[in-house]
Point group: D2
Chain length 406, copies 4
């Protein structure tokens, strides 16, 4: 059977599956599951076409990894075929640990971070599918001596970001988020074992940083999206509370399993992993729809509001909310809940903060390879863009609250 398959992709035209092992991993039920997990959680409530999935994103990232490694090889960087395969597998599986609604419910529904789960699942696949995944794990966990391979999987300018910025701007229709991914990839190089961008690619990097910032505020942290995701979190919080206090709740058995548990013993993966790999967005959607008529007023109100897209009002501000601001909103919520005395007000008034830096030094700098052969941090190499300003995180304080009488 010919496993060198070609997949149509509206973003890149065609994606070629590079080899049989990768093909087999894509066919694995754990990976197929990503077809049913949307990349951007509830962003489709604002951008209706943003229903693309982790599955597509991951294939796209594999495609870019292939291009990037070919560029590096053509510049004389020595990358063996095994390393090439392993880097592709590392990026293929980097998101396999995502649960329903990706980041929106991360750490809420299942009390785990997706990278931890990806790591565990890769280890399991190493045993059950193919031992060659071990090299991918090394790269994924930055234990491989060629550190630039890890940087391509997870860094300031990795193929993950290149694909998601590109893909998310494509599917949301926010054309301004588009980046010159092909030009950036052509400018990649390695110097002193570090991934770098050749000097003439500097404007493309500036553009990349600005586009990322734009996507954050216009899509990922869009007010309406934040409001909807906060409501979703409250729904799951309340459902867990009810489930753990013995209330009966409709749910698939897999979802039931996690609603009942407040903590997981990561080390006992054979206990929870079989349930985890059955979860996707449909478990959550199908439950929330049923919960709209649950006897618990708090739960049913939240569910009805979310499903009918009557969302909480949101305010963002740079400073913390003052006690009087909070008090005022608390009063509004009370009034709006007048006909639902049993509803717990806390669930209808939420406070949070979001933070984003367009360029963050912690992840390590983006290195520019000057014509002179030196490496320089983009923050210094850019002759004008004030990247030191861009790298300070923008913190926005958020309040969401029920704004209509029910």
């Amino acid at each position: 059977m010919n496993k060198k398959k070609i997949v149509n992709d509206p973003v890149y035209g065609f994606i070629t599956i590079p080899d049989e092992l990768i093909f087999d991993l894509i066919q694995h039920p754990w990976f197929q599951r990503l077809r049913r997990i949307q990349q951007l959680g509830l962003s489709n409530l604002v951008y209706p076409s943003a229903v693309h999935t982790r599955f597509q994103h991951t294939l796209g990232a594999v495609h870019l990894m292939g291009l990037a490694l070919e560029v590096l090889r053509s510049k004389g960087i020595d990358i063996t075929d095994e390393e090439k395969q392993a880097a592709s597998i590392a990026i293929l599986l980097h998101d396999i640990g995502h649960g329903p609604f990706s980041h929106a419910l991360e750490n809420i529904l299942v009390p785990l971070h997706h990278e931890q789960v990806s790591d565990l699942m890769m280890k399991a696949l190493c045993h059950s599918v193919d031992d060659r995944i071990r090299l991918a794990l090394e790269i994924f966990n930055d234990q491989h001596p060629k550190r630039y391979l890890h940087q391509l999987v997870s860094g300031q300018l990795d193929v993950d970001r290149l694909d998601y910025l590109n893909r998310d701007s494509f599917f949301t229709g926010v054309a301004e988020g588009v980046i010159g991914y092909d030009r950036i990839i052509k400018m990649l190089n390695v110097k002193d074992g570090l991934l770098a961008i050749e000097e003439k690619g500097i404007y493309s990097i500036e553009k990349f940083i600005i586009s990322r910032r734009l996507m954050y505020w216009q899509v990922y942290l869009h007010k309406t999206v934040v409001s909807a995701e906060q409501m979703l979190i409250q729904i799951i919080r309340r459902a867990k509370e009810l489930a753990q206090s013995g209330e009966s709740l409709f749910a698939t058995p897999a979802l039931q399993y996690f609603l009942m548990r407040s903590e997981l013993d990561l080390s006992e993966r054979s206990a929870w992993l079989p349930h985890f790999v059955l979860l996707d967005d449909s478990d959550v959607y199908s439950a929330i729809k049923v919960w709209q008529s649950h006897p618990d007023t708090t739960l049913s109100l939240l569910c009805r509001h979310l499903m009918n897209r009557i969302l909480f009002k949101v305010e963002f501000q740079k400073s913390m909310f003052t006690p009087s601001q909070k008090e005022e909103k608390r009063k509004r919520v009370s009034q709006n809940l007048f006909n639902h005395k049993e509803a717990i007000p806390n669930y209808f008034l939420l406070e949070n903060s979001t933070s984003n830096s367009a360029y963050s030094k912690q992840t390590g700098p983006i290195w520019i390879l000057l014509k002179s052969g030196e490496l320089r941090d983009i923050a210094e190499a850019s002759d004008q863009l004030n990247i030191s300003v861009l790298s300070e995180p923008v913190i926005k304080h958020v309040m969401c609250w029920l704004d209509q009488p029910l």
Copy 2:
């Protein structure tokens, strides 16, 4: 509140919601439900990005309707503001009666055709939301004297087709399916009360017909998609059989309602409609995942195969399958079920036929408005393309069967 909203759409850039009534209908839970029904059923198993929804398609069709009506008005066709709104509502709601997986499960899960349900739901909305929907219903049902308004909603060259061909080729990445929708719309005219295309648009129409044909064979009737959809149908058939014989089956209450019933009394819409409007793809996905471990071997085998994308083998041929061809496949299925004696072989060997004509005269011809002022059927006006050949339906006989031992 400003209800003249703008929606980002990767296909057209921006879509403006034309008025408040339409905005309110979009906000209605029945319409929001379309966000959770994929336009192309299981086509995403072949084209991973084809996860776009009925919601997007319908907004796109409303957008094209607005453009088309403006073109006609600019050519002196008298269309009142009420008619414009009604035509937009008719296209907005034309697909509201779709159930989970759109056409793939039409008439199978819920024993109804989507147009019938759309009609009923529009009538209900007329009562509960706004009486102006009545005019839309007249257009939808071809009872309005300006027949070209109906033709724009449902005809050989309606805005429904213009949007779905365009959108489906965009999201599948099958770039060849792209049509010159903007040029076609600019060439629209009305003559003798009929919708027509001006003569110089004739090549665009030929192209439209060929693109439609290509999309049928390359996407809608792609072998792998046909195989997956046949498997989905068998799953539902089996689940209904079990449910109706008293077996216990995990399902949301809404899905349960329809699994239990083999027939519906359409006239009693108050009985079934409240259940219907809760259904979307997630009810089916969440159930199938659970059914993978159902004690009924037939059901659980089918579910495991579909979820893990181990699909039945398919053959298409122009002539009917001969008894010996069928016999041979029957033997294969028996062998492959060797370890599952309780499985019912019929569910693993399916026969069907597909039919498609690129241009079908029954729906009425596409009229070309000649420079001389006469109308002529494209089939005669095209100086070369053999549309009479294209209008003969292509029938392909299909067999799908279990091809691997389990």
Copy 3:
């Protein structure tokens, strides 16, 4: 110096110059000249953005040749590095013999066909630049044993057509002309030494044929373009007549050289080639602008009309024009020239015919490689599109005449 350059191209993103010899040929003044020859002659009078040049087209075709050869190699077809380079050079230079306005003035301004000139220039470059061009010449002239290499340069489905259909539809903005060039290339194969398309690419080929037909009638043979190009031909005819009868005419020396001669002795290439390689569109444009005030009324009238885009009226019809139709137009022309008695009426009333077949068997069929391993002509393999009809040439008879009084 790094000659492995990357060129930005709006159609394909980036084009990589494959090797140093090809880079040197691109830098050659004869090739640089193509930057100043528009691909589509006067089509920009209808499609203002269609000012793209032979230079871009040729680079694009080289890019597609590279993709095609890689696909064939990946399917096990043995192609040496020398053959790969030679095929790329053959396509790079296939249009080098084009003169000003490409096809529009072919055989009119310079009494030669562009292929003949390309052949001569390739031979000359063989001597002056690099002997490796000899292998390219063999492929170009179909004297190479691997005939599929020639078919990629010049056949029914060559990379020339793939690029020009793609590029011309891109730059004219006739989006409907777009073809699935990438899919077609991925489906290429070689069987019995012939270039073929794998069976599953059949719809893409049908689409390619229809798109080509659409581009012919909508762009290449657009009425207004035909009218303008006929006027341009009359201008050159008249200018040659005047020049050869001793009249003084402004022109660059190179243009002068060809205006003075009615015939060329191909064998004496050292006489005329040095003049030919100086010609481009600017010689013709700069002359026509000056000739607008030439004392010869026929010439100056034609030039003023063309430069100011007051074009002749055109009629196309399927049958030949009857004597009475011609007579009627002759009268109109006489009336319209009333104030310009010295003008020669023949130049203001033109008759011609155009012919195009969407699929022409003479160039050899497009072979489909069936799954069974057999080759079949697309005309038989297509289960529905009536290619035998499409392969009959459509002949349209054309008359153009001066329609306004001057």
Copy 4:
């Protein structure tokens, strides 16, 4: 005759000519001339597809003006039909005074700035074509009370910039230069008589500023382009010197006219304008090709180098070139001219400086209309992008010199 024509445009799909007066102006020979003047001078030597013309750009800007005015009207800004037409004419004609090679030869070949010439030509058209152009002139010259109309024609965020950034990035293939023109236009508003962008458009504006900066350094001031344009300027300087000292030079009469004159009396437009309106790129190209064999060594060397794309070497640096740097290059030039003693070294060693600010306050700020109703300069409203840094001009000192022995 139907003058409401539709024009295909690859950037926007279709452009509708808004009315008959505008149609007539487009048909005017002075405007048709823009079909033969490339938008980006010699940028096509780096970006081969950047051969698009002032004609296309201007139609595109008219299209955007129409969209912008419709947006403003829909927000309640009162704009009469006459004002709408006048604003469209102002933008249609804003570039009509451009000469060959647009900015590259501005003030060199014809000793005038294009805006001055546009102004004069608009006045002339006012007399000869239609008096309604007078209102367009008022807007063009900022003499109209509704100043936002002028700002749309010429300001920091005018439709000129929106079109050229968009179009130049499209045709160069520098995809990163793309801007969200449609979103920016939808966010336009007027407050206190000034053009402003609504607050939620702020990220689009940041993106616009960064894209503009990127286009400057990557396209408009690309080193190779700067080198070629400097060479072109030297050619014209030398040709004028020779012509004015009585040397015979091949040239069209119109070009001849300007070569002979070092100064023009603007007030006597009837003397020079008839020559000016005949000039386009072809006059210059056809002359330079002939001058390649001119007896003046300086001229012919420069021409041969430019036509064959053997360009001067360029260096950019932030500080001024030191005497020793200059001396070193002077020596190189002398050595390289060893075989051409008669060549004047000055013409082969050029010094210059370029300057660009991504955001320049002189043109007036970009106003952001806050939700509170206040106007604020983007430089203050942007919560992070350091626009005050971006508004400082980046000055780069440039030297170009002959780097190969001849």
